[in-house]
């Protein structure tokens, strides 16, 4: 058996998308590291990112609660008026053969986005305070990253816009505060994604973990 000298693994980083191997060099804040081979964004640390992410996620959670409680859309046709809250939208499929879709829609626009916000708060709040990570923070963050494609608040808002244009000619629409709460939620989500560098978070989680 020949004992091959292992390279110092600590200083190495591989592109998660194309497996290209690099020696990691310290990155100052507001710089971005891209994989030279496939151009994937590998790291983009931002000054004060941890506390900003906590702020964004808390704001989004409050907006989410507002979005669920306040009126979403009203539609009036002559003497008739109908009200739709987010809950009504979720329950639109509840009858008959489409019941399964109610769960899917609830998941995509409420449950998964909210779960991701809770997860981000749970993982980031201790880190922002300079503490060791919370219990199971690693698993929680991994789940949160895996759920990323399935949180569809922004797709939903575009869907609302399309639906409103469809009925605009036929009836009068009143847009409620819940709609604007969701729009704000989507915009904050964009800011949060731009601030969040998962590479930095993974490394911080690893280094601060109590061994």
């Amino acid at each position: 058996m020949s004992a091959q000298p292992l390279p110092a693994l600590e200083g190495l980083v591989a592109c998660p998308r194309c497996d290209a191997l690099y020696r990691e060099s310290p990155l100052s804040e507001n710089m971005r590291a891209r994989c030279p081979r496939c151009n994937t964004l590998i790291a983009a640390p931002r000054a004060g990112a941890m506390s900003r992410i906590v702020a964004f996620a808390s704001a989004s959670l409050i907006l989410m609660v507002g979005g669920l409680l306040f009126p979403f859309l009203d539609l009036s046709l002559g003497a008739h008026t109908s009200h739709a809250s987010i809950l009504d939208v979720v329950l639109a499929f509840a009858d008959g053969g489409t019941a399964f879709l109610s769960f899917a829609v609830a998941g995509l626009i409420v449950v998964i986005p909210a779960a991701r916000l809770f997860a981000v708060l749970y993982v980031m709040a201790p880190l922002a305070l300079g503490r060791p990570p919370a219990r199971h923070a690693t698993g929680v963050f991994r789940l949160s990253e895996a759920l990323r494609p399935w949180a569809m608040a922004e797709v939903f808002i575009l869907g609302v816009t399309v639906a409103l244009v469809k009925v605009a000619g036929l009836a009068t629409i009143t847009i409620g505060p819940a709609f604007w709460a969701f729009v704000a939620l989507v915009l904050i989500g964009v800011l949060q994604d731009n601030t969040m560098c998962s590479h930095t978070i993974w490394k911080t989680l690893e280094h601060r973990r109590v061994r």
Binding site: C18, P36, A92, T138, V160
Partner: protein, 205 residues
């Protein structure tokens, strides 16, 4: 190669006998099975990747058929009952002159799903054949497919909003059609297909 910074035989974790985590980029010795940084399972290459890609793609393709055949929306007014399919809804929007919205729905419900089927299928087939386009172009195509897939869900949300909003008993009511279920399933299956694709396979020699 004129492309600076991309030597043709770039060092890879696998080339160096190492295993990299596809989530967090942490590099491990060959024997590692679990990532020390993010604690997820790791493998040099996802060997079952293509099987899952084809399986989900086929499921998505099958679900896309009833999504187009059966009605997406059931509209009933005082005088008539109308069922509209995905394509029928788009045509109707064009007739009303709502070009912008018609284009959004057409792109999200027809162009993107069909484009995804073709793109994923072609990418999976092209791995074992001589290259027609560069790794860079293949990689970019996969990224576009991953980014764009979730936007297909628009039509499902449109149906949900219309059905929850237009409820004027006898005067006008909109109900969701069964196609909404198969369309949502088709979108989810093709998203899973794209997510199963191990992008590192594109770059292997």
């Amino acid at each position: 190669m004129e492309n600076a910074g991309t030597p043709p035989g770039a060092l890879t974790a696998r080339g160096q006998g190492l295993i990299a985590c596809h989530r967090c980029g942490r590099v491990h010795a060959r024997t590692a099975r679990v990532c020390l940084r993010c604690h997820g399972p790791i493998a040099s290459r996802d060997t079952a990747s293509l099987q899952r890609v084809w399986a989900w793609l086929l499921a998505g393709l099958i679900a896309y058929v009833p999504a187009n055949v059966y009605p997406m929306l059931l509209t009933s007014t005082l005088f008539e009952r109308q069922e509209s399919t995905i394509l029928g809804g788009v045509v109707e929007l064009f007739r009303h002159g709502s070009w912008g919205v018609a284009t959004i729905v057409f792109v999200a419900s027809i162009v993107i799903p069909v484009g995804k089927f073709l793109a994923i299928g072609w990418l999976a087939l092209s791995l074992k054949r001589p290259r027609v386009i560069s790794e860079h172009a293949q990689h970019r195509l996969l990224e576009v497919v991953e980014f764009v897939g979730r936007w297909s869900m628009i039509d499902v949300f449109v149906v949900a909003i219309l059905a929850s909003l237009v409820r004027f008993d006898a005067v006008a009511t909109i109900n969701p059609g069964i196609a909404a279920v198969s369309f949502a399933l088709s979108v989810a299956f093709t998203m899973l297909s794209a997510l199963s694709f191990d992008s590192r396979l594109i770059w292997d020699e």
